[in-house]
Structure formats: C-alpha cells, structure tokens
Symmetry: C2
Subunit: 234 residues, 2 copies
DNA sequence: CGCCACTTTGAAACAGTTCAACGTCAGTGG
DNA sequence: CCACTGACGTTGAACTGTTTCAAAGTGGCG
C-alpha cells in the first residue's frame, strides 16, 4: 500500500477499494512457477516478499528474464487486459504474493479513475524499465550492463524500504542473473569478479552491498529518472 | 480509429470522446525529433503516417531504438502519466501525427472507463513488444532476431491494413535497423544479405517483401500471440 | 559421507565489431 | 551537362567480447 501510495497519494476511499479488491495470499517456493506463459490467469499477483521474475523461453531451452519484481510490484497486472499471458512468472526465491481478481480490478476501473491511473502508471513504469534493459543489452558492455542492473535493483529496493545501510537482499543465482542480462553464466561470473575487484559491490549469501555508489552509477550510466520516484498529482 | 476499435469495439460515445480529445495534426521530416528525452510534453502523439521510433542514447553517442511505431500507434501515450519522458522520439521517415492533449486524456479517464482500459491496453501491448525485443536481443542470433523483427513489423502493418500482397513500406536505413537491434550497421548488412540469399525477404526502395513467411517465422521463432490481435470484451 | 546445486577456472572457438576502403546513387550547383 | 558532395550500402581483414566446453572447487543438507 505504501508503494501504491508513493507516486501520488491515494484517498481513504481508494485505499479501501484496493483492500477490498485484494484476494487470497499465496506462497511459492523458490523455483516454482507462479503463472504459466499462454495461460489466462483470473487474477494478478502483487509481491509481498521475495523476488519474482517474468521470463520467456527460446526453442533451444535458454531462458530470458524480462523483469524482476520485489515487494509492492504487480508481477502481471497487465494480464488483466490481455487475452493470454505473453510470459511465464517464476519465483526466484520463496515468494509471498497477494491475488487481485481481475473482476475486482475491472470494478476499480469503473469506479475509481484516479486509482486506475495509478495502476496504469505501474504498468507504464514496467515499460520504462524494459526500455532501460533494452538499452543496456543493446548498447552497453556486460560490465556496464551489470552495474546498471545493480543500480536499478538498489534504487527500487530503496523505494520500498528494503535497503539497510548499503545492502539489500538479492538472493538470485548467477545463472538467474545471466538469464536476466542475456549472457552466459560463465561470463556473468567473470563480470561479477571484475565489479568485486574494483570494490564497487559485494554480493555474498544473497546480500548485495553497494560499496561505491558513485562509481557504480557512472559505470552503468544510471540515471534514476526513469523510475519516476516523484510524488505529484497524476 | 479502426486501430483503437480493433481489439474491442468502441461505442459511438467513446468514438466521439476520442475525436473530441484529438488536437492538432503535426508533420515531421525524416530525421526530425518529435519529442525530446527528459521533456514533459503536454500532449501525446498518435501516428497517422510514416514510421516513428523511440530511442535512448548512451554516453558514447550510440543509439538504441526501443520501439518502432506506425499508423494507429500512440508513440508516447505513457508520457501522460510520467513526470518526464524516459526516451526521445524521432521520425524515421516523414511522419504525420495527431496530438492528444494530456488534459483531454485525463478527461477520458474520468468519464470513459472502458475507453480508458483500451488506451491502457495499448501501452500494455507496447510492453509485450518490449519483452519480445528483450528475448530476441538476449537469446537469439542476429539472423533469428532480424527474422523476428520483420515478422513483427509485417504483422503489425497487416493489422492496420498497410500490407499489400506480401509487401509493406519499411523505409528505414540499415543503420536505423542496427540501432533497433543493438548491432553494428556492418553486421546488419551481412545478416540482411543472408536473409536475401535464403530468399526469405526482399527489401528494396523502402519496400519490404516477405517471400517465405513460414521460413521467416520459423527462423525468428515468431508467434503473434503477444500482439493479442483478438477482438473480445475487455 | 555423499550428493547436488552453485561458483570458479582455463582454453579454444565464434559471433559480432571495428576500421578502412570502395561502390552507388540522388541531389546540387556551376 | 557534368563535377562534386553526402548519405547509404557493401566488402575484406583484423580484432575482441562473449560463448562453449570441460573440469575442478565449495558449501549446505539429508
């Protein structure tokens, strides 16, 4: 709720509508599928804890992760208007999520224009993140790409209060990271070593620590403007 | 209007609201910027003819195109809810576009829930296309990526009736294509030659002709489901 | 203890880049 | 009417970032 409230305050009525629209709380084990590609889920999932990923597969069996989601993110809000989900959703870590039945979301769009815009905004921000990933994959070296990704994850974790000191929980495997960046696990390993060698980050036991934010930001050409973390009327 | 109407029919009232929301018609020369990154436009642009691209720049000056837009596409509808545009918009060819003032779009969200959902859907489809591009960039060879891109462009052109026979207007330079695919112009040239050598496509004078759709689709692992070209209540 | 998932390492191979040159064609101006 | 220019496409050769393959190291857990 704090997250939804973040970019423009919701009225009491709107908050009640959100709570009323929420359904069951569901848990997933690390590695478990949360939604299947080409399915038509009857609800969308809001992450309450853990890390979830959207992914697609290629014929050879390789996987591309197209988004990572943490506390407060709707993983597949867009499924509400789509005929079929265009990607799978998988739990990277153990995940707890809240279901929002599509009928209830539809109800919100009928009755709460401002709240609807805020939900719409959340899918628009997903799009902005996709574009940043495209830029990083297409025109950045593996090293810069990784720096950018870590800056993004740090910033997003920070928005929802998941950063403590300079650290946040980032409990993925290097193979997951490879799938997110479109690289091989081997090269991810070597790139990671380079970031560690330069003392930009530390990543142990699922805890990512940013040792030198300025250097990391510069290396990854990271500008947080696209995350639009600004509170204003919308 | 036909495009907006395509995935779920609009009522007469809704169509009137769209027409009422439209503003000036504006023209751009090939190469001209239509919107600047980091600006806050007061209106969004709907393409009426030509090809527009969203792009971002990297420090070295290289460009990544993150989306291509043709007739019926909103290029930057999302700008309506964002504080700043996270990308630039450039005219690839001569472009004619219609402005939709953000105040008018806001008005639509207040009064027309169903129409709002249809506009929301159009930004969601942009997201689905972004994800497909991520998959292609991350996990496909240049050849498969290019095949995929051409399948997508063909299908989207077809939806808005821009395909004649097996051909559609695709008046970009190879350098534009390189910017869209995250490759060097030289490699785009060679990849293109390979597609021509295999007689999958022909591309001359800005006209793209798909000579062997099945082979192209298979090579690019293209499945049009993500474009969600289905008419149903939403 | 042994297994399994994950990380790390080395060496060879490769897809795609870079650089530099040349070709082609349309537009422009003398 | 021709020479000049500039944008775009094509080619060749050397180079490099990343992949692939294979093996070994590490650590948690039943």
């Amino acid at each position: 709720m704090a997250k939804l409230d973040f970019r423009d305050e919701l009225t009491g009525d709107e908050k009640k509508a959100v709570v009323a629209a929420s359904g069951k709380v569901v848990s997933f084990r690390a590695g478990e599928d949360m939604s299947l590609q080409h399915s038509k889920p009857s609800h969308s999932l809001l992450v309450a804890s853990g890390i979830a990923a959207r992914y697609s597969l290629v014929e050879s069996g390789e996987r591309q992760i197209t988004a990572l989601h943490i506390l407060g993110d709707f993983v597949d809000l867009h499924a509400f208007l789509l005929t079929k989900l265009d990607h799978g959703v998988s739990a990277m870590t153990d995940v707890v999520a809240v279901q929002f039945p599509h009928a209830a979301l539809n109800q919100i769009t009928q009755q709460h224009p401002h709240l609807t815009r805020m939900l719409w905004l959340s899918t628009i921000l997903d799009g902005a993140i996709h574009r940043q990933w495209l830029l990083a994959m297409g025109r950045m070296s593996a090293l810069a790409h990784m720096a950018h990704l870590f800056c993004e994850q740090y910033t997003r974790a920070n928005v929802v209060g998941l950063v403590e000191g300079k650290s946040f929980s980032f409990n993925l495997t290097q193979t997951h990271l490879a799938d997110a960046m479109g690289l091989s696990p081997v090269h991810v390993n070597r790139t990671l070593q380079e970031l560690r060698r330069r003392s930009l980050i530390d990543w142990e036991d699922g805890i990512m620590t940013v040792l030198d934010w300025n250097a990391l930001q510069e290396l990854g050409q990271f500008d947080d403007a696209y995350l639009d973390a600004v509170n204003r009327p919308r």
